[in-house]
């Protein structure tokens, strides 16, 4: 009797497991490929722009769309949606969307973008993503494109961004640039900044929580650089208001298009070449007044790449 019960239990488990696996096939039996698009908040351009670009590229694929804006029970919403549809792949835009899908688990391939904490998800099986910021190597290339006479670029970092600096050192070398990296701590902050400003031709800002630990300290950093007529290169246009000369940030529409190509690869049964991609498109903001104030040599041919011009 016990043997029979064990056998029945084993069979039951096998059926359950097989049904779980068949709920997330790479291509459905009917030939349609259904994609669940989960947007953290479509009222925000940061999430809406990649979502729109994604939809424009998907063509004939069937999309099931969920907007989690204001949704206090996103996991329930998504579970209900997944139960009601045979989903072949999921595109998550933003951390709320990705975190909720991650919580639900499952084997369905997930593609994501516009997630600041993407590193948390980079080793998940079936997860593919576009990172939030332009590759450091690409940022350095853009700096050189605009200001070919600047050879020494100073950068402040902490333990948090140490790996970024190691990669950036190699990229800088390939670009014939000298990266002057200075590690910060709270005690020696101002001294380190002043030392760097004394020897460098530009300052490169990284998304480092120690370097940018407060609004006041960030403003001070920009003011000190301005006093020395040293241009600041940044990774977000937000810093243009603080006095950055150049900012290189990810083009959101391109990240949506990259996600679409990843989904199209999955539809063809091909795993995307890289599970994590850097954004392939960039938006360039340039402050021409700073260029003139600091008497910088700007390659005018680079101007046809500018998305935003300030103070001209």
């Amino acid at each position: 009797m016990i043997m029979v019960l064990r056998l029945l239990l084993t069979l039951y488990c096998a059926v359950i497991l097989s049904s779980c696996q068949s709920s997330a096939p790479l291509a459905s039996d009917t030939g349609t490929f259904k994609v669940l698009v989960v947007n953290s908040n479509s009222t925000l351009p940061r999430y809406n722009v990649p979502g729109q670009a994604f939809k424009k590229m998907m063509g004939e694929l069937e999309l099931v769309q969920v907007d989690l804006a204001g949704d206090e029970h996103p996991i329930d919403t998504l579970q209900d949606t997944i139960n009601a549809n045979s989903i072949n792949a999921i595109y998550c835009i933003g951390a709320k969307a990705l975190g909720s899908i991650d919580y639900l688990g499952g084997n369905t391939p997930v593609v994501y973008s516009s997630v600041l904490s993407w590193r948390e998800f980079q080793n998940r099986k079936h997860f593919f993503g576009v990172t939030d910021g332009v590759a450091p190597a690409a940022q350095l290339a853009w700096f050189k494109h605009f200001f070919p006479d600047i050879n020494r670029i100073g950068v402040l970092y902490s333990e948090t961004t140490e790996d970024v600096i190691q990669d950036a050192q190699k990229s800088a070398e390939a670009l014939s640039l000298t990266l002057q990296a200075s590690r910060l701590n709270a005690e020696t902050r101002e001294q380190k900044i002043m030392e760097l400003l004394a020897t460098t031709e530009a300052i490169w800002i990284l998304p480092d929580p120690v370097v940018l630990d407060s609004e006041a300290n960030t403003i001070t950093l920009f003011e000190l650089a301005h006093d020395k007529r040293i241009p600041v290169f940044a990774y977000n246009p937000f810093f243009m208001d603080l006095g950055a000369t150049l900012s290189i940030n990810a083009d959101l529409a391109t990240t949506g298009r990259q996600a679409a190509l990843m989904i199209q690869s999955l539809k063809q049964g091909i795993s995307p070449d890289n599970s994590i991609q850097f954004p392939a498109g960039s938006n360039v903001s340039l402050n021409l007044r700073k260029v003139q104030q600091y008497d910088l040599s700007l390659d005018s041919d680079a101007l046809n790449s500018v998305s935003e011009l300030l103070d001209h």
């Binding site: 590759a135 190597a137 690409a138 290339a141 853009w142 050189k144 494109h145 070919p148 390939a174 670009l175 014939s176 083009d251 529409a253 391109t254 298009r257 990259q258 190509l261 199209q264 690869s265 063809q268 091909i270 070449d273 890289n274 991609q277 850097f278 392939a280 498109g281 960039s282 938006n283 360039v284 021409l288 005018s300 041919d301 101007l303 046809n304 790449s305 500018v306 998305s307 935003e308 011009l309 001209h312």
Partner: protein
């Protein structure tokens, strides 16, 4: 007697007043017509449209100094062609590729100015990759619209086997340098970029450049053209003059650089003179 004489005098005065009023009205109308804003529409399928705001701000800043002209960038081809279909008294900055598509149906649409860079009115687009493209699936990073890109690729002189056109996937990026970086960083298998961008990349990123190969070269492409409807030429002369003078002021030069140009030159032989653009 005096009353009899006064009547013709009154009539003459009334007539004179009426003529004056008409003259004033006419001169006022003419003045207001002269002050009407001339719109310069811009759409370029060769490049991405994320720069419309910076183009408008820069051009309008230049135009506002002494002209009553405004730039109106257009997001997409169908809207742009819809505007042209209405034959307004406006100027149209467009790619030469698009102009040649339109001219067949609109014989009165004439090219008037051509963009120059380094005294050259022609450029080539190159297909650049690390090696031949896979016939199964290949991603090409491009900064132009899909229809323009497919048209260009279809007529390209290739250094490799024919392109797997049906299997090609286009990744639209904002700029040529983005497209080249996408190949270097593995987001695309090939990039479509101007030879000028490729030369810049060589100076910028020597190591990566050395790994790239030219897989194909486009037919020669003429640079941007300013077109208008022949019948509107007299009314648009001031705007054409303003465009020609752009290279004379810093703001104008900035606008030209944003379009990737150094100057505009008047086409010597235009169709309305019986020649070819």
């Amino acid at each position: 007697m005096s009353r009899k004489q006064s009547t013709p005098t009154s009539l003459k005065l009334a007539l004179a007043a009426l003529l004056c009023a008409c003259g004033l009205l006419l001169s006022g109308w003419a003045g207001s017509a002269g002050a009407q804003t001339i719109t310069v529409y811009h759409f370029n399928p060769e490049s991405h449209s994320d720069r419309n705001l910076v183009l408008k701000n820069t051009f309008d800043q230049y135009f506002q100094v002494s002209h009553n002209i405004e730039l109106q960038p257009v997001d997409d081809r169908s809207t742009f062609e819809g505007l042209i279909a209405e034959s307004p008294p406006s100027l149209f900055i467009m790619s030469d590729w698009q102009f040649h598509q339109l001219e067949a149906d609109r014989k009165d649409l004439i090219p008037y100015l051509r963009g120059l860079k380094d005294n050259n009115d022609t450029f080539h687009k190159l297909l650049i990759g690390k090696g031949p493209l896979s016939p199964q699936h290949a991603t090409v990073a491009v900064s132009g619209t899909d229809d323009y890109v497919y048209s260009l690729l279809g007529k390209m002189r290739l250094n490799t086997a024919p392109l797997p056109m049906q299997q090609l996937r286009l990744l639209t990026v904002p700029k040529d340098i983005d497209a080249l970086l996408a190949v270097s960083f593995g987001m695309a298998d090939a990039a479509l970029a101007t030879e000028n961008s490729y030369e810049k990349y060589a100076l910028l990123y020597r190591n990566e450049y050395q790994q790239l190969k030219v897989l194909g070269t486009s037919q020669p492409q003429k640079r941007l053209v300013v077109a208008l409807f022949k019948q509107h030429l007299p009314a648009l002369q001031s705007a054409l003059d303003a465009l020609v003078d752009m290279d004379q002021t810093p703001n104008g030069q900035l606008g030209l650089k944003l379009l990737g140009l150094d100057e505009w030159t008047q086409l010597k032989t235009t169709r309305h003179e019986g020649g070819q653009p």
